[in-house]
């Protein structure tokens, strides 16, 4: 295994990771990216659903072909362990003695049922930091409700406020809240580590993904609670700006956002479009005039933007200091020159997945240069390595456990998904 590297932010941090799907593994992916030794516990008997999620080049079932899974699990070690066996629980406890942090995002009660609740872990390691995140938090009548982020978007109010005023609500793309959670979670875990360094005290973190997500719409909830106003769907409009929307350009499904947040933006927009007569209409001179005639304004503006190439329009508007931008497709993101300049996406090669993108964290630390380590592991890929290097086991210890199915290694034949 890689040696500790105290020059990297988390070069000495040890994490035993039971997380699966997105919110948990993305949380620990930040730790792995910045130098932590993250050992992910998985079993073929209950594989992470992301392992069989698209995109993939593999036809038929494979636990190792998913590009979705690969995005959150690079730089981690994969320990194959069948947690339904008592011997596996003993191995977990030996790993806990090694770890600084244990992370999990099972339904509350799952770790306890395996004898791996916080109180049990503390007996092994009194200052352990346990990070538990679940849909709705621990305790309360619905604590054990299963689910993941795609549905949590709705429970958190995000879906209800997203959409056109004349239509049904629309779910924000993907398991949206899953991507909100990790930023709060990593800051909390690192704060708990700092607290432990100063006080010697570990702790159990309980992060309700619903509660965390509500902080992303907090002003609307404060408005509802204190003013009694229910949220409304407003499409792309802004209460204090106009025009403010996505407008069509040449080509199929090409769009440009244009947002006039001030009079100067409006005047510059008008000049870029060649001072057309309709834009000189008195009704459009003021913000209030533009807001009160916004539907007409948007329709007339769309008629003009349709004649433009999207990239040329954005360049012209940005040059004139108007906030405007491309509406990127996923292809546009892959090819975006700014993201390329920042090195946001790195590409790895790995059997089964093939060449695939992995996103880096969204910040650059001036003293912690990017370290490109290794792509996402196959399920159980580092079982022997972890048992030898961390637990000091010999082949004679390991082989019988593999034979009994306590430890798992990658297999050639396709694994059965249950």
């Amino acid at each position: 295994m890689k040696p500790d590297d105290p020059t990297r932010p988390l070069g000495q941090l040890k994490v035993l990771d039971f997380c699966w799907v997105v919110a948990g593994p993305m949380t620990t992916s930040y730790l792995a990216e910045y130098g932590a030794t993250v050992v992910r516990v998985e079993s073929r008997r209950r594989p992470d659903v992301l392992r069989t999620s698209p995109p993939s080049r593999v036809k038929g079932k494979s636990l190792n072909g998913s590009g979705y899974y690969a995005n959150y699990n690079a730089n981690k070690y994969a320990l194959g362990l069948n947690l339904s066996t008592p011997k596996a629980i003993d191995i977990v406890k030996r790993m806990v003695a090694w770890a600084d942090v244990v992370s999990e995002n099972f339904t509350p009660g799952t770790m306890e049922r395996m004898g791996l609740g916080y109180e049990e872990l503390r007996k092994v390691k009194p200052d352990i930091i346990m990070f538990s995140t679940s849909m709705l938090g621990r305790g309360g009548p619905r604590s054990k409700l299963p689910g993941f982020g795609a549905v949590l978007s709705s429970l958190s109010g995000m879906t209800g406020i997203t959409g056109w005023p004349d239509r049904d609500p629309t779910n924000p793309y993907g398991a949206y809240t899953d991507f909100i959670i990790p930023r709060f979670a990593v800051a909390t875990i690192l704060s708990a580590l700092d607290y432990r360094r100063r006080t010697g005290i570990g702790q159990h973190i309980d992060l309700s993904q619903l509660e965390t997500s509500l902080h992303f719409i907090a002003p609307l909830l404060l408005d509802r609670a204190n003013n009694g106003r229910e949220g409304a769907r407003t499409g792309n409009q802004h209460d204090a700006a106009a025009p403010h929307g996505a407008f069509p350009c040449q080509g199929e499904d090409r769009w440009v956002t244009i947002t006039c947040m001030s009079d100067s933006h409006w005047i510059a927009l008008r000049q870029v479009l060649g001072d057309p007569q309709w834009m000189l209409d008195e009704r459009f001179h003021t913000l209030l005039g533009r807001k009160h005639n916004e539907d007409e304004l948007e329709a007339k503006l769309a008629d003009m933007t349709r004649a433009w190439d999207s990239e040329e329009l954005v360049e012209a508007l940005q040059a004139a200091q108007v906030p405007a931008g491309l509406v990127h497709t996923n292809k546009g993101m892959i090819e975006d020159p700014q993201l390329a300049y920042r090195g946001h996406i790195v590409y790895y090669e790995k059997a089964e997945i093939g060449r695939h993108p992995v996103q880096r964290s969204e910040f650059r630390l001036s003293r912690a240069p990017a370290a490109r380590n290794w792509p996402t592991p196959f399920i159980g890929e580092h079982t022997r390595l972890v048992c030898r290097d961390i637990l000091g086991m010999t082949d004679a210890d390991i082989e019988p456990l593999l034979a009994e199915g306590v430890l798992e290694e990658p297999t050639a034949e396709p694994a059965a998904s249950s």
Partner: protein, 419 residues
Amino acid sequence: MAESKTDAGMLSPYRVLDLTDERGLLCGKILADLGADVIQVEPPEGNSARRIAPFLRDDPKPDHSFFWWAYAANKRSITLDVARSDGKQLLQRLAASAHFLIESGRPGEMEALGLGYEELAAINPALIVVSITPFGQTGPYATYLASDLVGMGMGGFMYVTGDPDRAPLRVGFPHFYLHGSAAAATGAMLAHAQRVHTGAGQHVDVSCQEAVARALANSLAGYPIEGSIIVRQGSYRQTGAGTFMRITWPCKDGFVNFQFSGGASSGVSVNNFVRWMAAEGMADEYLQSLDFTSLGYGTVSREMLDRIVPPVSRFLLERTKQELFAGAIERRILLFPVSTLGDILEDPQLQARQFFQTLDCPQFDAERTVLGPFARASAAPIKGGGVPPSLGQHNIEIYEHELGLARSDVVRLRGAGVI
């Protein structure tokens, strides 16, 4: 829980200077909730976030903005014009003993004031400077102007959200800068973890575009791996080149969210749902012939959906959000109401965890409701919402009592418009 709690938060030894406007407030809020002493450095006329609606009683006073309440609570406020020579000097004095400084100016703006990272590091080499910008400090788009909408489009999120026959759509609340400023708290703490070992500070350069890009689920990898362009599908979601799942469904009194797809977890849920339909005599033969656990996530084709959707829709339209949710909980089905804000305030789980809290606010004539903490921890408290500071509320406390300025000089600086 086991440890007796102290009042000191996890980050109580640390001081943060927060120079951000609405684009960066959340970063300092997270650190403040975790216990740091966060000083919001406002321009003498007030932070621009104080102008953002909605307002308490729709009265647009600077202390009434709920955006300000949400993202400035648990901080202290001083006023300071850092563009003035006295202001710059005061900021340098504050920076000498601070642990973090967060700013959300355009790239080059702090340098133009003589307060760039290099200048600040010369005063305090251990200082961590966090810069939150739309696209990062350098690169071809670094100087591009970005409102929330522009950012969500450039981050790839709008194209995949909304109805296929209309323009791409943003999330209904401005999230572009919230993604970036939440991530900035993580970046700040990573830099701090390194400082603990090296003693050195550093510059954390956050790109909100990259932060939104990290919220694109599997769509980003979809292009290089499968060559697929993921398009917006309204109530549906495209999960791969030819596979879809239905997400949002109308019911009797609103909408429910029900992920109708295969896979280990979803499949069990959908099978349970079909059994419920069958028990009510509403599942047809085709539905009952499918085993969604063996289908795998993202394997349902458009043709399959065309046969699945009509009977499922009929079942849902006959039932209310709460009837469906209660039935789903009983049967372990992953179905949730599309909550209104009112539904959230009455949510029994949030109530049991006492998430919403009432504060006695005589200055606002009543008890006011605020949000609880974003997470709980057993040994050290994480703060929830509170009443945010009024403009310059802590000027005397910080300038006179902590920095040692004479009261007469504090008054003089206010008169000169420096603070």
